[in-house]
Assembly symmetry: D2
């Protein structure tokens, strides 16, 4: 089971909405929408994706990291390092 | 004409690829993919969107801001302020 | 003259305030302040730096890019590309 | 004890280096350094601060969150939510 098992439906719905927003971006470009308005919408879609990322991170810490912590110090340290690197990748985008 | 008129086809192709990546994210969630792998893919999609945003920004500066600069100081200042606010929104996501 | 010539005093004051905030971070670490509180303050300092960056960007577009636009297409394109790369670096941090 | 107790000296040294870099930014502005060069240095300082933030986050997860996980589900959930909000603040800067 993934850490986000309890929220699968909500996550799927949010991702489908983001997919629709990206389709909307393509339409904006096709219709020669003013650059700044396309950029504003790109910021909105990016924010939506990062928000899904934060939900996944919280679920991951709450389940996978907590389980590892109860197993051993080594398991916890490995999961924590992996999670920190995932946050570093989110920050660098 | 939008500032990105010369690159419409390329932008459309990049956005359609990003749309496919978001669909891939939904599939990853449906298949209970490990949280960290979904997060890594979210970082990749966000990076793709920001890269499209940077292309739009460059086209905007290169056409709309440059034209405004040749029109008047007031037109230039207004366009520059608008562009800076768009960058601020990108940074905050 | 740099593009921010008119705002040198204000920028200097903001940077000195940020320097004081970084000194405050060192003090927080020395006093074993709770990790999350240090992290919150790091976010505040980073936001301050990015805000100075946005001011510099706006001044740069408003002076250096506008001047280049009035000089030639080639000068404008070169300045715009340089500015876009600077925004890309800001986004990646 | 803070989660970063073992790394206090290293963190202090990194923060003092960042303080020196901010002082360097003030000097760049005083000397009318080219806008783009100041922006590049701002990106470098921001990256340094975020890197300190990631170290603090990893230490926090490795100590405070792991301890909470061994105490109770409620303690773990509270610490995880707090850590996720700290990451959200880092992302929004």
């Amino acid at each position: 089971m993934a850490g986000y098992a309890d929220e699968k439906d909500a996550l799927r719905a949010r991702l489908r909405r983001i997919e629709g927003q990206v389709r909307g971006l393509t339409r904006m470009v096709e219709e020669d929408t003013y650059c700044i308005d396309v950029l504003t919408q790109i910021s909105a879609v990016t924010k939506g994706l990062q928000s899904v990322g934060l939900t996944l991170l919280q679920d991951h810490l709450d389940h996978c990291v907590v389980e590892a912590a109860r197993e051993s110090d080594e398991a916890a340290t490995a999961k924590v390092e992996e999670a920190t690197q995932a946050v570093a990748r989110l920050l660098r985008t």
